[in-house]
């Protein structure tokens, strides 16, 4: 199998900050279970999407894979190599292979660094190019991401660029090391609609030209449907359904996926849809419900759902769901 990333039973628990007195009296620390047993794999040159509502753990999962965070338990394999415990020099070399693009291009570019310097910086950090050679590569990637004329842009500061241009600059910086995998965390959600498509198209072009693989993280399922090959739906730190996008949208199996899909607005005044009504709101990741974590809100909950945590099982080819209904 040409899997580039494989994640097995990944967990990340963040301890809840307490005051001194609370620490003194409480018997044990409580945790926010941001990622609570996630397994999936990403195939070479595919766009795999993690989608879900805020707080479902999609961003944390992305950060664990590039090892910006250390997992509490579980395994991360990159090209078959266990990188879960990678540190220091090993981790630095790994980062050449995987890069991350963040949601907010205003925050991810240093306001006091000229664009050319910021984009060439990874080359310096990794000792790959300097001087003339570095400049040449910076101009090349700027041209690739459509920031033209590159000779002028290298001398601008981030505040002189528009939101869309900044996100292009962030993309240029992420591809300059020729990585294999890019984690794109909500890369278009702060970009205006008229500029969004161009950024998405750029991502698709890079996959073709540079053979990139993407982990795309989004809350916007309409964008996910447009861009992805396969989609994993997350709820409270767990993947509850994974499928290729056609099957997922045609035949969503998990009641949560069904509700989520039915809530997406359709840009067509002639279409009215039946919404699946969900009870209540997403519970806190500190006290995840026992059994199936979705059972308190599930419109089709059964007795077994309260007791047993369902496993992710394959229902049809390449379509996995974690639900006792199947």
């Amino acid at each position: 199998m040409s899997e580039i990333v494989k994640v097995e039973n990944l967990r990340k628990y963040f301890p809840v900050q307490k005051s001194f007195l609370e620490q003194f009296f409480a018997r044990k620390t409580t945790y926010v279970k941001a990622v609570d047993g996630v397994s999936f794999s990403i195939r070479k040159k595919e766009i795999f999407t993690l989608a879900g509502e805020s707080g479902c753990g999609k961003t944390t999962t992305g950060r664990l894979i590039v090892r910006l965070l250390k997992p509490t338990s579980g395994k991360i394999l990159l090209n078959g190599l266990d990188i879960t415990g990678a540190e220091g020099e090993e981790l630095r070399l790994l980062r050449r292979k995987m890069q991350i693009i963040f949601q907010d291009p205003y925050a991810s570019l240093n306001p006091r660094m000229k664009i050319g310097y910021a984009i060439g910086h990874p080359l310096v950090i990794h000792g790959l190019a300097e001087g003339e050679e570095k400049n040449k590569r910076v101009l090349e990637v700027l041209d690739k991401v459509g920031l033209t004329p590159p000779e002028q842009l290298i001398n601008l500061y981030p505040h002189q660029l528009s939101g869309g241009q900044r996100q292009r600059a962030a993309m240029a910086r992420s591809i300059i090391l020729n990585p294999e995998l890019i984690i794109a965390d909500e890369p278009v959600s702060m970009i205006d609609v008229s500029l969004r498509t161009a950024i998405i198209d750029l991502m698709l072009d890079f996959r073709k030209e540079l053979g990139l693989t993407y982990l795309f993280i989004t809350h916007d399922l309409a964008v996910a449907k447009y861009i992805s090959d396969r989609i994993g739906i997350m709820y409270l730190g767990r993947i509850i359904e994974i499928s290729n996008k056609e099957r997922l949208f045609l035949n969503p199996l998990h009641p949560y996926t069904q509700a989520l899909l039915s809530a997406i607005p359709i840009p067509d005044p002639d279409k009215k849809r039946e919404a699946v009504d969900l009870k209540g709101e997403v519970p806190s990741a500190i006290s995840i419900p026992a059994g199936c974590r979705f059972h308190p809100r599930c419109p089709r909950g059964m007795y077994v759902c309260v007791k047993e945590d369902p496993e992710l099982i394959e229902i049809e080819k390449d379509h996995f769901v974690a639900c006792h209904l199947y």
């Binding site: 509502e53 805020s54 528009s162 939101g163 869309g164 241009q165 205006d192 609609v193 008229s194 500029l195 969004r196 498509t197 161009a198 998405i200 198209d201 809350h219 399922l221 309409a222 964008v223 449907k225 447009y226 056609e246 949208f249 509700a259 989520l260 899909l261 039915s262 809530a263 997406i264 607005p265 359709i266 840009p267 067509d268 005044p269 002639d270 279409k271 919404a275 969900l278 709101e281 997403v282």
Partner: protein
């Protein structure tokens, strides 16, 4: 008489670096019970246009000229004291971020009591609280939570409370400025359903301000598309969806993904919106327009209408007859 009538409204922000014409020559009207969507990207002037309807344009913004008539009265000529009685009672505004619009040190009930007693000084606090409880229940919030503080509610619940405050005095017009932008889709859908339900019950008119054309197309009868401070197109949702006239509207509709379509091909609008301190001469959109002609770079198009139902600001459509004969469409 229409409920709301806006005529050649101009709103400027007078900054030290120059003047930004945030709203330019806006004219439209809204009837009782109608829903109107104001769609536009960031900086298009949609919020400024909304805020000028209740005369709350923030400093250094000024309403430079024009008329805003509510049931025939030009509110731009009213003294501030009379304006206060219009806000909340005739026109209510729901802001994007409920956390900054609710007072964090006041209980939810106190917000309602203050609102009711400001406008109806003869109502007792107990009566006002009673009314607040009924409203909370109609929003799907337990009446006993009336003594909770804003931080004890989730984002979706807070937005419900904002909606509750907006409808308390039974206004004729409710404006909701990006009411669901900070919320997840499932909560967004519930909030929009709630707003739609209440609107039907109370017969209010609604102006929904959003950057998200999908929710506007789904929820509104009429749509105004704003670009760089100008109304580019104004039509019924169905008309706009079926046959968008302005190249910008066409571009927008081609850039929003629709999950109902398989193998949809999105296309991008080239370039980016203009710097509002120095917008391009002529049509504001010509540098990005695939159909730009010579005159677009020189002259500014006017908003022209066709049978009072579909308006567009574009030279592609014939000026004189006001008909929608397209010129040079292929060229």
């Amino acid at each position: 008489m229409p409920l709301l009538e806006i005529e050649s409204l101009n709103v400027d922000y007078r900054a030290s670096r120059g003047t930004v014409h945030a709203v330019e020559d806006a004219s439209f009207s809204l009837n009782k019970g109608e829903t109107l969507g104001l769609a536009g990207e960031s900086g298009s002037g949609k919020s400024t246009l909304g805020l000028s309807i209740i005369r709350l344009v923030p400093y250094p913004g000024v309403i430079a000229s024009g008329h805003v008539r509510i049931e025939g009265t030009d509110i731009l000529e009213l003294p501030e004291s009379e304006m206060q009685s219009i806000r909340g009672r005739k026109v209510a505004y729901i802001f994007q971020d409920p956390m900054t619009s609710l007072n964090p040190v006041k209980r939810i009930g106190a917000h309602f009591v203050e609102l009711i007693r400001t406008h109806e000084p003869n109502t007792s606090a107990a009566d006002a609280l009673g009314r607040a409880k009924t409203i909370l229940e109609s929003l799907g919030i337990l009446a006993e939570r009336i003594n909770d503080y804003p931080h004890q509610f989730s984002g979706g619940m807070r937005q419900r409370i904002m909606i509750g405050l907006a409808i308390t005095l039974n206004p004729d017009l409710v404006m909701a400025d990006e009411p669901t932008t900070a919320l997840d889709v499932i909560v967004q859908q519930k909030i929009l359903d709630l707003l739609e339900g209440l609107r039907k019950v109370y017969g209010m008119a609604l102006i929904l301000i959003s950057h998200d054309l999908s929710i506007i197309l789904e929820r509104c009868d009429k749509i105004i598309v704003l670009y760089a401070g100008q109304i580019f197109e104004y039509a019924s949702s169905k008309e706009l969806h079926r046959a968008p006239w302005h190249p910008y509207t066409q571009g927008l509709l081609h850039s929003i993904p629709n999950i109902e379509l398989s193998d949809q091909k999105l296309s991008a609008i080239p370039g980016s919106p203009p710097d509002m301190l120095s917008p391009p001469k002529g049509c504001r959109f010509w540098p990005r327009c695939p159909y730009a002609m010579e005159e677009c770079r020189v002259e500014e198009p006017e908003l022209i209408g066709h049978e009072q139902s579909h308006f567009v600001r574009c030279f592609l459509y014939d000026k004189k007859a006001g008909s929608h004969i397209e010129r040079n469409r292929e060229g």
